[in-house]
Symmetry: C2
Subunit: 238 residues, 2 copies
DNA sequence: GAGTGGTCTAGACCACGTA
DNA sequence: ACGTGGTCTAGACCACTCA
């Protein structure tokens, strides 16, 4: 509990997040206008505007002058790989994908801890490759709490043309809002080397990601192994 | 040239950046109050406030309620290593430093291109180790345009207790504002292995950083090799 | 042309830090 | 007690999008 109550724009921001989490508006939908929201929350337009600006800064919504304020979506619009920081040295864009597997399993202690589950709760494991110019550059393994992703199978993934996070939105109503990554340099295991067509022991960039949906609830643990010979992980520091 | 002129708050922001670059206020100094700046620029307090908020979001200034608006500094206050994303797995903080060398040299083509110099222009090269619990974890090499760092020697570095970027501010008036990093996994060379006390070929995280001062002028090229056994590079994605 | 977000203003009041 | 930034309001006008 804060000593002094949070400012009104912050309270409104939280109410809007709660409404987004409850699905009042889906990704891609347009929100009510500032004036309408001001009336709904009994605040001035300026205060609602501030709340919306904060949400836009967090990429929860997207503002378009003349059109309205829209719920952000991983589908279609901008980058289909908003959270993927791997870029080609020659700036070539895009990846091909190859699904390696999708199976149900029970959460290891580590996976359970990361996702806030009990050990041995059911999770779904997905493994795949990302390729650039026909060469594999990323080996991805990811784990999802099964209760939020009922019905996710290899067929569903293969049938979906867009990014995984777009599939999660449209099919399961799970929108990834932010993520934390831990990076390390590791030596390729025999299996990783085989899949990435590298010698065993080759240096790989290990990227462990925990992705969160509305309300900071962890919804995906992902471990990527990036081959960084002709690609690099780009990061901007402010 | 933009068709329509930039908004007033953006013009004011740019004027403030220019004043910061010209040294009208030094890192740590307090800026004039919002009201004073509003009079100076002939704008309303709200418009100046917006400009200052943008600068605060970019970490160019720091606002303290009741005290004033201050020019950001790498010296003392918050993190002495604002741009260093390497954290210990057990969250232990801080590093010891060991200077390996500081010498004048001529810019290679690559260094010149990164720093916007002509090939063979004079630069200063610094090499050092960062240690945690007595063990080396980072091997840093960095290159600086000599004309902006006249008088930088090993003795000057050794005599300075704080972070390098704090030294650059106080001694050379160069404040690093933002940076771009490119990360790769590489195999330790013989020399890197020796300095980091690792077997040759061990996987290392290579971090190539280009740091910019006011006005997006590149002022430092740095290449770090991070040993990521008990530490990891942390990144937050929004 | 109607409706949306974007800019700019003026003013009131509050919260905080310092002397 | 004073000066600072932080919040909130009300209203005017502009710029853009789309039917």
């Amino acid at each position: 509990m804060p000593k002094s109550p949070a400012p009104l724009y912050e309270q409104i921001r939280q109410l809007l997040v709660a409404a987004l989490a409850a699905g009042e508006w889906r990704p891609g939908d347009v929100l009510p206008s500032e004036a309408a929201l001001a009336e709904r929350f009994g605040a001035s337009a300026g205060t609602v505007r501030r709340a919306l600006d904060e949400l836009a800064a967090q990429h929860l919504v997207e503002r378009r002058q003349g059109s309205g304020t829209f719920v952000s979506t991983h589908a279609a619009p901008r980058q289909p790989f908003r959270f993927l920081r791997l870029v080609a040295d020659d700036e070539v864009q895009g990846f091909a994908r190859e699904l390696l597997g999708c199976r149900r399993m029970r959460a290891s202690a580590e996976i359970a801890r990361a996702l806030g589950l009990r050990t041995a709760e059911p999770v779904i494991e997905v493994r795949r490759l990302l390729l650039r110019r026909g060469r594999p550059v990323v080996l991805d393994e990811l784990w999802l709490p099964q209760r939020h992703f009922q019905g996710l199978t290899a067929e569903v993934i293969e049938a979906h043309p867009g990014a995984l996070y777009a599939l999660f939105e449209t099919r399961f109503g799970v929108h990834m809002v932010r993520a934390q990554e831990k990076l390390r340099a590791v030596a390729a295991t025999a299996e990783a080397a085989r899949l990435l067509q590298l010698p065993e022991g080759a240096p790989l960039l290990s990227v462990e990601r925990l992705a969160f949906t509305y309300g900071d609830r962890p919804m995906e643990l992902r471990r990527g192994l990036y081959h960084t010979a002709a690609d690099h992980y780009r990061n901007d520091l402010n």
